[in-house]
Symmetry: C2
Subunit: 405 residues, 2 copies
């Protein structure tokens, strides 16, 4: 049943894509032109619905017709996926079927999925693009290739209700795992031990990991060892006076989560967190609130980031070296726009406007030098007026052990 | 320990690559220029040793020096992977560090990893290639970009002893699983039930699947339903008079296997397989032997394929619609050359000469129309004089139930 639903969702997304093609000036979209996608997943694979071995072309016409041109060995499974209106098999080369289809459809602009700014809309490899050029060489179609990265991005980030439901469900599983963490936190446990226990719970839940396991979850106990950023969870043991920070992301039924939570372990006699810790938490929360207030249609990603970034600096903390937010969907970093500053490494992604139906991870991490890292990360969905949290947002620093509260 | 060994192997492969650069006319090789490789593995990742989130450049000089230019958030884990001599972090863009490094190294030819013919040497996406061009625009280096796909392929297919050992070990695990299959084969079991049981054994062994699980293993019982190729294992129940065909591939410690085995279930009173089945098996075996005899240095891939293909037709069977063999290594279809016909979909891959140190999967599948599919697939390693099987090759059709033999 889950599989069937997934297939219907691919078709619904292709329908959504067809309705957006005119806006992007495209008559036809080569959604995927790839090979061996079982070894190397294509970021458009969620629209295709299956992997392929041989060079395969998946084309969508702006009237909604869809055709897959695949090697004969792949045809059976592409048909059984039930996403594409027509599956045309080939033996020696996709050339003939591809040119024939374009002759039938007569598009003025043929979109190819690539993007300099967004990895999840950067579908085609350079080698496959050269193959496409060589197939179309000498035909009327060769001069009609256009960039479809922006369309791919819009389809990806405008979530349909079934996609929102999928993400919501993964968030719920992730939060249940966070709830279990307090039960095993105790002075002496190492970051690596905590990571292994959490990973056991994740596997029991039947979920996968949204990024590689040696960093999932990230676990930080106490003062940071490295000059910046995280280190892999190791032998650092939890001690009173430590901040406890966990960054965990799951994949469940093809949808991701990406959440951070923070605790503080009280020292003997402490009734609350020491002032540097409280101040850091307050600044982190203020940055989250400022960013959320700016997260609404009409603002660009960099506007949202700037609001959050300003709040950090207003609280006397150094400027963060990362973006305030990123899309969440099929993967934890779902691309197609970022709530980040206009730094070159983000390309044009910070300029993408916030739209209704977008789902973001919003996050802030600030250091309390003697105590460790405060990190908060939530999932938020945008509607016509603003944004609301999909996760049960952390509004106060959790103090351990609980008896002291 | 396994991890440490893996890291040394990446360094050994980079050393091997540096020694091959002069032959390929390259002074510097941008092994990987990629982002978010946790979501989308780069086929060169086995040389890089870790995944990255931000746009990252991994460069090898022909004198063996290696430098990673990575986002500050990725620097810690790239350093801890211990593969790259130097790790240079950046915050806003890799531009400055990349141009600076090329200014230091002053290469005449800068290899970029892409290939039209070989997916495992087709590393860079079109978007990342455009980013690279834009970074180098206006510098002396912009006109020095060259294609490094052939180098990437040669490094990939010339296996070091540790790589051969890894593949050998995965083959042994796969063969142990094949041995268990006879214990559960019985009339009435469905292809799907058999698949699920085999998958349980694979998981118990701690191995992964070399291709997607709904097709791994492929299981064919009796006459083929589809006009060509496989269907997903379903409700077809095993009956006397059926051929039983299984195609299974594992990944263990980063190395793949890809093997096929065939049985026949005797009907009441049968002492051996009926003539059409015996003839089909004999033709399959003859095609394997003919291909293996041609698998030696000096021959091109298409020569080896032709020998096997001719044997099939000499036995009165229709010409196969697939290649006789492919490399096996990090993945089941390890690319960089194919033992196949000069069909356009294979590009120039069939022209690649066979070399000592190559590891191939060689295979033949022929249909006995009333009975099903005979399929044999072995792994073979090439030395200076020819090739030998690494797997315990199937030389006769296995008859079930065993008491009848």
């Amino acid at each position: 049943m889950a599989w069937r639903k997934h297939m219907n969702l691919s078709q619904a997304k292709l329908k959504q894509a067809a309705s957006l093609m005119e806006k992007h000036g495209l008559d036809c979209w080569i959604v995927e032109f790839a090979r061996e996608t079982g070894n190397r997943p294509d970021p458009l694979g969620y629209l295709v619905g299956t992997t392929v071995t041989w060079p395969s072309a998946f084309l969508l016409n702006r009237d909604g017709r869809s055709v897959a041109i695949v090697g004969s060995g792949d045809a059976g499974q592409v048909e059984s996926a039930g996403v594409w209106d027509e599956v045309r098999g080939y033996v020696s080369s996709p050339r003939q079927e591809l040119v024939k289809l374009l002759d039938e459809w007569r598009p003025n602009k043929i979109g190819v999925t690539w993007s300099q700014d967004d990895d999840t809309s950067d579908g085609i490899t350079l080698g496959m693009y050269r193959m496409l050029e060589s197939i179309l060489e000498g035909t009327d179609h060769s001069s009609r290739l256009a960039q479809a990265g922006a369309l791919a991005g819009e389809v990806r980030r405008r979530k349909l209700p079934d996609e929102v439901e999928g993400i919501t469900s993964t968030i719920a599983t992730t939060e249940r795992i966070f709830q279990r963490v307090e039960g095993i936190l105790r002075p002496g446990i190492t970051a690596r031990q905590l990571q292994q226990e959490v990973q056991r719970w994740v596997r029991e839940s039947g979920s996968g990991f949204a990024w590689e396991e040696r960093m999932n979850p990230l676990v930080d106990f106490g003062p940071l060892g490295a000059p910046q950023g995280h280190t892999l969870p190791g032998d650092t043991a939890l001690r009173p006076g430590h901040l406890i920070h966990i960054d965990l992301g799951l994949i469940q039924n093809g949808f991701a989560s990406d959440l951070q939570r923070t605790w503080y372990w009280l020292r003997d006699g402490e009734k609350g967190a020491p002032e540097p810790v409280s101040k850091t938490f307050a600044a982190t929360l203020a940055a989250m609130d400022a960013g959320m207030a700016a997260l609404r249609p009409g603002n660009a990603g960099h506007d949202v980031d700037a609001a959050s970034r300003q709040a950090v600096m207003d609280h006397g903390f150094p400027e963060p070296q990362f973006a305030f937010g990123h899309h969440v969907g099929r993967v934890a970093h779902d691309g197609a726009g970022v709530l980040g500053p206009r730094w070159e490494r983000y390309g044009k992604a910070p300029d993408v406007p916030v739209e209704p139906g977008n789902v973001f991870a919003v996050e802030m991490e600030l250091e309390a030098p003697e105590y460790g890292l405060v990190g908060l990360e939530e999932q938020a969905i945008v509607d016509n007026d603003g944004a609301r949290y999909m996760s049960n947002s952390q509004r106060e620093l959790w103090l351990l052990p609980r008896k002291h509260r």
